[in-house]
Every structure is written in C-alpha cells, then in structure tokens.
C-alpha cells in the first residue's frame, strides 16, 4: 500500500488498512457526539471488532444519553517518541446499542477493560461509514503523548 502525500507537505495520508492497524494498537479514544444542541466529547476505552469499534458506557450516564441514531466521530492518536512521528485516525459512523449476550462477552466483552471504576453495563458499537488517518512529524515529540509500552500490549492480549 503506497501512501499519497497530502497537499500539505510533511503530512502523510494513511490507507484504511493502516488506520485499522493503528486503531488496534491503542484502546483509548475520544468520542464526539451531538448532545441536544451542541457537540460533546468523552474519552472512551474501545476495542476493534470485525471492522467496527465497541465500547462500554454506564447506563444513565451523560454519554449514554447522548447516543442515539445520530452519527458520532471517534478520534485516536499516538506518537512514536523516538521518531517524533505522530498519527491521528478518525472514524465516523453510527452508534448502535449491542445486546449483552454471551456471544458479545466472548468476542469483545472480556477484552474490554473499563478505564473508569464503576458499573458499565451497556455496550455500544460504532459502525464506520468512513475512516481517515494522517501521519506527520510533530513539531516537538515532547509536546505529544508517550506511546503505549510493551506491557500495555501484553495486557491487552
């Protein structure tokens, strides 16, 4: 897969395959939703599942209330501290509730770890309508986030 340089020099447009690979490598993203008459944004812990993204949210939470048939956008990003190359991937799509069956638990439930203590009993699936990503050298790697370490990947199994 070759990458087309974007009109802005120094920014590389990523293929869908590359985007998915990067999304699989991290588990915290930020979800933008339309809440009533304004945008809202939440950090979530997600898992890639067969071309979709699944996350948990507590019933009755603000996030849960904000999810309807309206489209959502999820952004995940990261940086390689050694090279200073950062990436950002955005997935847009619809958010649909997932019935908590044994099948769901088997496939994704056990792999999802709530990043926030508390009861999390609603599963939501983002079915993408578009996935876009960019890679670029940050002006200073130190101003970005540190990469996930090996322990993280091992932990996610």
């Amino acid at each position: 897969m070759t990458n087309k340089p974007s009109p802005v020099s120094g920014v590389e447009v990523l293929s869908a395959e590359q985007c998915w690979a990067l999304l699989r490598g991290v588990s915290v993203g930020r979800l933008a939703v339309w809440a009533a008459n304004h945008p809202d944004i939440f950090p979530i812990n997600y898992k890639v599942d067969h071309g979709t993204l699944v996350f948990r949210t507590g019933e009755g939470t603000k996030l849960h209330a904000a999810l309807g048939d309206a489209p959502v956008a999820l952004e995940a990003d990261g940086v390689d501290q050694d090279t200073g190359i950062a990436w950002s991937v955005v997935v847009k799509g619809g958010a649909v509730g997932v019935t908590l069956t044994q099948e769901v638990l088997d496939t994704v439930g056990l792999l999802l770890f709530p990043w926030q203590a508390g009861r999390k009993d609603a599963f939501v699936r983002i079915v993408p309508t578009s996935i876009t990503g960019r890679r670029f050298k940050v002006t200073s790697p130190l101003t970005w986030w540190s990469p996930l370490d090996d322990a993280t990947r091992a932990g996610l199994e």
Binding site: S9, G10, S27, R30, I41, A73, E75, W115, G118, L156
Partner: protein, 154 residues
C-alpha cells in the same frame, strides 16, 4: 475522594479544571458540521481565561466552529493512579486583529503538525467541567509527558 466503590468519578471544581488545562498542550476539538460530529486534535495555549489554537481547517469546518464547540483534554497521573478529563464548551471566534495575533505568538502557540495554520482561533469558555477517576487499567492510558513547552517550543 477517589476510587471508592460506587463513587467512580470525582467532579473537579473549575479551579482544578483550569490548573489541569494549563498543564497540557494537546486537546481534541469536537464540532458539528452538517449534523455530523467532527473531531480533531489541536495544540493549544491558555490566554486570559480562554483557549487559543491555530488551525488550517476548511471553510465548512471553520464556519461550524464558530458555533458551540467542545474541547477535551485528559491525562493520567502515575503518582496517584488517577486519570482526569476536562471538557470546555463554548463558542469559537477567529482572531483577526494583528496585535492580538502577536500576543498569541508570544505565548509560543506553535502548531503541532506541519502545514500552514493560517487561522487563529479562540474558544470562549461557557462551561468547564472535569472529572478525575481511578483507572482500573492505568497501563492503557496514554501518559502525558512533562510539559516541555518553555524550551522546546522556541
């Protein structure tokens, strides 16, 4: 305060929110464009109780971000095993006054990625909310590094 069962998240007061906002440099900005949420990372600085950033977003997005926007900043404190998330909501306006731009430049607001970031934008906070919570899996949280803005951005 933190991590008690049944009390998963601690609400932060505005002063705490602003202190945390002052420690970070990267935020995610959410806007609605044609009924579709859009989200993108921005490099920001605080200026007189507002958040200022530069962007090269297109006309449609630029028009949308002059409506209400939501900006989220988060981080993880390894010392306490807690993560935090602060959300600022409000309208964004474009800075056109050259003098005002100079003030912003003096704050070392350098864009976080290459390319011309022609627009200077200011988020006027209408609502600031924040939460702090124990992470059950701290290792999955991305850890913000020490703010090196002072020297690194020159």
């Amino acid at each position: 305060m933190n991590g008690k069962p049944g009390n998963p998240a601690e609400r932060l007061d505005p002063a705490e929110c602003w202190e945390l906002l002052g420690q970070a440099t990267v935020a995610r900005l959410a806007v609605i464009v044609d009924r579709q949420p859009e989200i993108f990372p921005v490099n920001y600085v605080l200026d007189k109780g507002t958040a200022v950033f530069r962007s090269d977003v297109g006309t449609k997005v630029r028009a949308a971000i002059q409506d209400l926007c939501a900006m989220e900043v988060d981080g993880y404190d390894a010392g306490t095993g807690t993560a935090w998330s602060v959300v600022v909501k409000g309208p964004v306006r474009i800075i056109t006054d050259p003098q005002e731009k100079k003030v912003v430049d003096a704050l070392h607001l350098d864009p976080w990625q290459p390319g011309p970031k022609v627009h200077y934008l200011r988020l006027l906070p209408a609502v600031v909310t924040g939460r702090r919570f124990k992470t059950t899996r701290p290792d999955i949280w991305t850890t913000p590094v020490t703010d090196a803005r002072t020297e690194e951005f020159h």
